[in-house]
């Protein structure tokens, strides 16, 4: 699971859960791989992100580096910054671990990089 995906996932699908966001991450195995950088794409995706969630996720994995805690202005023209965001969004991957619902504590396992978001019948 990349942090871009983590930024979008929630547990609101569970019956009785109000917000279900952001999901906590308990990582046992994290992998860093190189992904081609696309300036235009990264600037386009930033406004769609929840910045706090991204920062906290990266931080909890020990990979926030010098990513600023709040989103900077004029990021479109700041390649150095865009590269940092690119790294955090697409190159860090949780291979093994769990996502945790902030309201119920329900755990969603992540195995071989795939978050399991399937729910039991009594949960929906």
């Amino acid at each position: 699971m990349k942090l871009l995906t983590h930024n979008m996932l929630s547990s609101r699908c569970i019956k009785g859960v109000d917000v279900g966001y952001p999901l906590g991450i308990q990582a046992k195995d994290v992998k860093i791989s190189e992904v081609g950088f696309n300036n235009e794409f990264v600037s386009r995706i930033i406004p769609k992100l929840d910045w706090n969630t991204l920062y906290n996720a990266a931080d909890s994995l020990g990979h926030a580096g010098d990513l600023p805690q709040t989103l900077i202005e004029d990021f479109e023209n700041n390649e150095e910054f865009l590269r940092k965001v690119h790294h955090v969004l697409l190159e860090i991957e949780v291979i093994d671990g769990e996502l945790v619902c902030p309201e119920t504590g329900r755990k969603f396992p992540i195995t071989s990089g795939i978050p399991n978001m399937l729910l039991n019948e009594d949960e929906v």
Binding site: C13, P115, N116
Partner: protein, 281 residues
């Protein structure tokens, strides 16, 4: 046949505003049309259209298109996709698991890229990604990132091994990932809405669970402004009515469901499938 839903796709991605819908011609190149074979095929397609049909997706060898690397792209893409491992004998009928054949997947993805520019540099979702052949193909065509969604953990295990295949040193589609979930549930919640640029999919056709094909389309249109999807030609009229003004039948394809799919008694069956482009209003 509702003529209004079919359009000329003979524009290139450098042309931001496509011409208004007229005829149904699918072009697999965005280079100059000097290739005799392609021209012949276009003529044939035009004839077909006058008779009220949708042309088959062109499969002409494109090697003679001058100056472009595109022809090789299509061939290379198909070669790579042939290496992608699929469901095999483990296919689950209940989930309508049949892979898009490599040749078809390559033609479809190549068309989406060269006619519409909707893959390269885009964030792409693949709904019902199965073992990931469309996902891998989109990645090889330069998608910024691809996320596949499927309900079957076994298929996604194969997906994981496919994404780590390096296609004989060509490139490893590492920039893709999968989420195990039911596409029709509310797991793909509003946070995902509008995040993707493009949705590609070969959804279950709805032969086991009625209406699931159009449920997939609906979810797709929440995720992205444009959805490219495969549907049984026999359901075309129904779909075109339901999504009037918001869909175009791009091409009609022969889809070979091969013998490994256990419930078919014959060795293999050809079914007719439409490639349909859906847009937000």
């Amino acid at each position: 046949m509702e003529e209004a839903t079919i359009s000329i796709l003979a524009f290139t991605k450098h042309q931001p505003n496509p011409p208004p819908p007229q005829l149904g011609i699918v072009l697999l190149t965005c280079g100059k049309l000097t290739n005799k074979k392609i021209l012949e095929e276009l003529e044939l397609n035009k004839k077909l259209l006058k008779q009220g049909g949708v042309p088959p997706l062109s499969t002409a060898p494109l090697a003679a298109v001058p100056g472009g690397s595109l022809p090789n792209l299509l061939r290379d893409l198909e070669c790579c996709l042939e290496e992608v491992e699929t469901f095999g004998t483990r296919a689950k009928i209940r989930l309508e698991q049949y892979p898009t054949p490599a040749h078809l997947a390559a033609c479809v993805l190549h068309t989406i890229e060269t006619s519409f520019g909707d893959i390269s540099g885009r964030l792409v979702a693949d709904l019902g990604c199965g073992c990931g052949n469309l996902t891998v193909g989109a990645s090889l065509l330069g998608a910024a990132s691809v996320v596949g969604f499927d309900i079957d953990p076994d298929a996604l295990q194969v997906f994981e091994s496919n994404r780590h295949n390096d296609f004989d040193g060509l490139r490893c589609p590492d920039d893709v990932e999968a989420v195990l979930c039911d596409v029709t549930s509310s797991v793909i919640s509003s946070r995902w809405h509008g995040v993707f640029d493009t949705v590609i999919m070969n959804p279950p056709f709805g032969t086991k669970k009625k209406g699931i094909d159009l449920e997939f389309v609906k979810v797709g249109l929440q995720l992205a402004p444009v959805v490219y999807s495969l549907h049984k030609t026999s359901t075309r009229n129904h779909i075109v009515k339901k999504f009037e003004g918001r869909c175009q039948v791009l091409a009609q394809l022969r889809f070979n469901i091969d013998h490994s799919y256990k419930f078919h008694t014959r060795d293999s069956v050809d079914i007719s499938v439409d490639l349909i482009k859906f847009c937000k209003k």
